[in-house]
């Protein structure tokens, strides 16, 4: 600002802009947030916390219209993508949605069409033992739940489908499931064809 200081001011400005450039790069490559103590190591001449914070503010301002922003977290400063771009980034390397096994699907179908059913009912219909994992998978998904017990020896739990199940399959009620009648006909046709 004053005439006498000009020669060194220029240097100082050049140094600070160089420091800012390096700090920005360090923040972009660092896997962890950078605390002030670390940031200080990047400067060739000692800097005060206030000086560093001023540079950090400048960088944050430079980035304010970008989809990545400079943020301060407990352990220091870091860049991060703004949440709004996540949807776009999710388009890259999308994972294939997993699929349920036939055993899970059949169990669900039995619960849906025959509810309330016990595990024994399911086993009888499928003709094979039902692993507890299958029921747990469907319960964890909140698609089936225990709604009571049958008053028979062992008092087995009765499973039924949930509202969540209907919501997730976009049904207003169980009556919107494909009619069994239809399936029955189809089956009879199949059986007839085989005979």
């Amino acid at each position: 600002m004053c005439a006498a200081a000009v020669p060194s001011m220029l240097n100082e400005n050049a140094d600070m802009s160089r420091f800012k450039r390096i700090l920005e790069a360090a923040l972009l490559v660092s896997a962890e947030p950078l605390p002030l103590a670390e940031i200080k190591k990047l400067a060739d001449a000692p800097l005060t916390n206030r000086q560093i914070e001023a540079v950090l503010d400048e960088i944050a301002a430079d980035w304010q219209h970008k989809a990545v922003e400079l943020t301060q977290v407990a352990s220091g400063w870091r860049f991060r993508a703004r949440p709004e771009v996540q949807a776009y980034l999710d388009r890259l390397n999308p994972q294939k949605p997993p699929r349920y096994s036939r055993a899970v699907l059949e169990t669900l179908a039995i619960v849906a069409y025959h509810q309330p059913v016990t595990r024994g009912d399911i086993e009888e219909i499928r003709g094979v033992a039902v692993s507890p994992n299958i029921l747990k998978t469907l319960e964890a998904r909140s698609w089936i739940e225990v709604v009571g017990v049958r008053d028979t020896p062992g008092r087995p739990e009765l499973f039924a489908t949930t509202g969540q199940f209907l919501d997730d399959l976009n049904l207003r009620g169980l009556q919107e499931l494909p009619a069994l009648q239809e399936i029955g006909n189809l089956l009879e046709q199949n059986v007839a064809a085989e005979d």
């Binding site: 036939r102 039995i110 008053d151 009648q181």
Partner: protein, 268 residues
């Protein structure tokens, strides 16, 4: 080891005393074995060093002496790194062969040209190896990610969302069809759409009774839902009673009817 110059002349010190200088020919003094193994990548490397540093003419090496030395060396090293000595021995043998062929008159080929110089193959190998040595140095000089430059990777806070399988109604239908096909008319399916509603209502009633308390019979019906629904609810309740899933009580004639799930009965 410095990567820019592999063949810098190194000297071995043992207890502060200079033990030896690098070999002057293809013979490796047993004392120097460690040093030579560390400094040279093998006999080709040593040969290149000898040619470049000592201006050694590879065929000027006293072969008889070298052979004698190697045989003694191998004897001494019988138990120790023989396989490495073998590579140097093989090289010495190759040099002896070349030298002996050089001493013989070369047969003229048809057309009057000289036959192939017996040194040609060795030279080709030395050249090829030297080329690779240089290429290796150049590769090492290329900036390397993580060593000479950093890759930018900004954090993205992905909401960690477990991908759950999706199913469609159609898949469910297929699954059901699969079961039925296997069950194959084990019994006759005369299930009707209406019965599905009864089943749904059965689940609904059980859910209402989950608390285990007696619930007034009327509380299970919602007049608003219309007559078909009321009928379905009533049938569902009868079905539940038939399957021993709920208990219906009426303490006096025309008195209030109470319903509770039979689980509650047995839990008492």
């Amino acid at each position: 080891m410095s990567a820019n110059e592999g063949n810098t002349v190194r000297q071995a010190y043992i207890q502060g005393e200079l033990m030896l200088e690098m070999p002057q020919d293809l013979y490796i003094p047993p004392d120097a074995l460690e040093l030579v193994l560390e400094t040279f990548q093998g006999p080709l490397d040593l040969l290149l060093y000898l040619i470049r540093r000592h201006n050694l003419h590879v065929l000027d090496i006293p072969m008889a002496e070298l052979t004698r030395q190697y045989l003694g060396y191998i004897e001494a090293m019988q138990q120790n790194r023989l396989e490495l000595a073998a590579e140097y021995l093989l090289m010495a043998a190759m040099l002896i062969e070349i030298k002996s062929r050089m001493l013989l008159p070369r047969p003229k080929l048809v057309g009057g040209e000289d036959g192939e110089d017996p040194r040609a193959e060795l030279m080709r190998r030395l050249q090829e190896y030297e080329q690779i040595k240089q290429a290796a140095r150049q590769l090492d000089e290329l900036p390397q990610a993580g060593r000479d430059f950093e890759i930018v990777q900004v954090l993205i806070e992905r909401t960690v969302e477990e991908r759950l399988p999706e199913i469609s109604v159609d898949e469910l239908k297929q699954a059901w069809l699969g079961i039925l096909t296997r069950a194959r008319v084990r019994r006759h399916h005369t299930v009707r759409r209406e019965q599905l509603s009864v089943r749904e209502q059965m689940s609904h009633i059980l859910r209402c009774l989950k608390g285990g308390e007696f619930v007034p019979f009327e509380a299970l019906f919602d007049i608003e839902e219309g007559i078909p629904r009321l009928v379905v609810t009533f049938i569902a309740m009868l079905e539940l009673a038939k399957e021993y899933l709920l208990e219906i009580q009426q303490t006096e004639t025309f008195g209030s009817i109470y319903v509770r799930s039979s689980r509650a009965v047995n839990a008492e």
